[in-house]
């Protein structure tokens, strides 16, 4: 490897903490005998998450973002492809305990994500014990520190979930996700189920914790405002595939894929300004996808070739900006 001394290195590029390579998850549907088809929830996804980064994954229903999240956490076996978490391959080989120490999840619904029969202390202490911590003093100290970090008080540890508000429950959920000091945290619509006036509290908290603990986030959300605010990079998914990915500013100010543009145009602007061309129609049934490019029936820029030939792989349109569209270069000009 390196020899001694005199090499002056530039600031090393942030390492990749999560790599998804050609991931596909196909669910069998239909009966045991005839009519057994395959639902491609995720159909060939490549992603990369760098340390300390927040990657926003956006898409509508049927795009596969939830299945993607479950696969990364090892809760869903992939049909094809592989996922590398901190260098280790997630899958049959990986020990679930080791995986638990690297990647954790914050849930969407604060009302069903906490065990109603466990106190906050029990919810936080059990994972610590499970992963080998035995000293009660150490456990209590870790819990107290974690609670303070998420904006709760030590006396909250003895209470049950139903004694807390939605925002507080979400804080407890965040504490639970961070108690094992993971490196990657998946945020599944972290503020969608919360009252609007307290969302800012949780968004600010998540950003602070990311810096304090040097975490890397994958945030799944349909709320583009939140995604724009929190993400460093964004990946847009449609029907199981990534159609565009790049830095947040590129995606939100210079989107190139017609679907990304349609998503942005669909957000109602409080000042009544239009943001672009909206699309009609609905997400097609993944069991019966359109021919060629899966977006063509709704695409305002579709041509005959889009119907006939499948969309190509992700192609670079600029530094770090990948788009899956046959006409992307043409449209950008």
């Amino acid at each position: 490897m390196g020899s001694c001394g005199a090499i002056i290195m530039a600031e090393p590029a942030p390492e990749t903490i999560l790599k998804v390579e050609d991931l596909a998850v196909h669910f069998p549907v239909g009966g045991y005998f005839r009519g057994r088809r395959s639902l491609p929830a995720v159909d060939g996804v490549d992603l990369e998450l760098k340390k300390g980064e927040c990657l926003g994954v956006v898409g509508e229903s049927g795009c596969g973002k939830s299945t993607l999240a479950l696969s990364i956490l090892g809760l869903q076996a992939p049909t094809r492809g592989r996922i590398l978490l901190d260098g280790h391959e997630v899958g049959a080989g990986m020990d679930r305990m080791a995986r638990a120490r690297i990647a954790q999840l914050v849930f969407q619904d604060p009302y069903s994500s906490l065990n109603p029969r466990q106190t906050v202390r029990a919810t936080l202490a059990t994972p610590l014990r499970l992963h080998g911590m035995t000293d009660d003093g150490e456990i209590d100290a870790r819990i107290a520190a974690m609670l303070a970090q998420v904006g709760l008080r030590p006396e909250h540890a003895a209470r049950y979930p139903h004694e807390f508000s939605g925002g507080q429950r979400q804080r407890i959920g965040i504490a639970r996700a961070l108690i094992l000091r993971p490196k990657v945290v998946l945020l599944d619509e972290p503020v969608s189920a919360l009252d609007v006036s307290i969302r800012a509290q949780i968004i600010n908290l998540l950003l602070e914790l990311k810096d304090a603990f040097r975490l890397s986030y994958i945030m799944i959300s349909h709320d583009l405002g939140v995604v724009e605010h929190m993400s460093d990079r964004v990946a847009v998914m449609y029907l199981g595939r990534v159609v565009e990915t790049g830095p947040w500013e590129t995606i939100f100010t210079r989107p190139r894929h017609p679907y990304t543009r349609a998503l942005i145009a669909a957000i109602p602007d409080p000042f009544g300004r239009t943001r672009g061309v909206k699309v009609t129609g609905e997400v097609p049934n993944p069991l019966d996808p359109p021919t060629g490019c899966s977006f063509h029936p709704r695409c305002p820029e579709a041509r005959a070739i889009c119907r006939e030939r499948p969309a190509p792989g992700l192609e670079a349109l600029g530094a770090d900006h990948l788009v899956r569209c046959r006409r992307a270069a043409e449209l950008a000009a």
């Binding site: 349909h222 669909a266 943001r275």
Partner: protein, 326 residues
Amino acid sequence: MSAAPLLQVDDLRIDLALGDERFAAVQDVSFSIGRGETFGLVGESGCGKSITALALIGLLRPPLRLAGGTVRLDGREIQSLRAAEMRRLRGKRISMIFQEPMTALNPVSPVGRQIAEMFVLHEGATWQEAERRAVEALASVRVAAPERRAKDYPHQLSGGMRQRVMIAIALACSPDLLLADEPTTALDVTVQAEILDLVRDLCAAKGTAVLMISHDLGLIANACRRVGVMYAGRIVETRAAEEVFRAPSHPYTSGLVASLPLLGARAKEGRRRLKEIAGVVPSVAGFPHGCRFHPRCGRASDLCREDDPGPTPLPGDGLVRCHHHG
């Protein structure tokens, strides 16, 4: 020349019975909607916006009860009409669409028939004629192949389609007022935009006024001409839609505007820390004494703790309830 408003609500009060106690879930709510106008009611969970709409259309059920105030439709008081009279109004003069179309539609009846029912019930049409008009109604809500879709059952349709069916049913008899309670919350973003455009276009064509209810301030500001912001059972601010974001008057409204990550904000101003509103949304059983927002308000003074502010008129047909507004 100002025409008399289509809907005039004054001092509406709705009580909620919990155990032996009675709480005012909605109190002193007054607003008006002009003919063909789109008015938005925006607020969070528990602020009372949905039950206000239910009160207008006479669908409050125990433990909720209309406990005071008047509702005037075209000058005529309707809040204490008998059940049979209210039924005649529903569908014909006032209609409502809901958040979850799957629970609002009859699962065992084809959608065409459910639309046709409206014509039979309210306009005395024959079933044959009604079914024909139902297909027309489906076409007007931009459903492709309406003759075939009319025979489908709700579960065979997608969420967006079901919502269109609900809109078709609600607007079948061209009512004067449409109440829309979070009509797009359960839908995908791109479908949301389409449905909102549809409601706007159809209601403009028929001259139907709309009361749109949502927790999404941006959506309401975009879709409505005037906005009423509700908090803890009261309307705390009524403004023209474009003013709500530009120059909010009530601390709650300005707090909300400052706390929401708006699309495009980071590109313009960089990532600023969102301004938080402290505290939690109070529940009906625990509305604070004095001004209901004072525990969370940066401008709260002793006066606010004691005295619930009355309405102060604002220029441009607005209204605010705050001792320290502006």
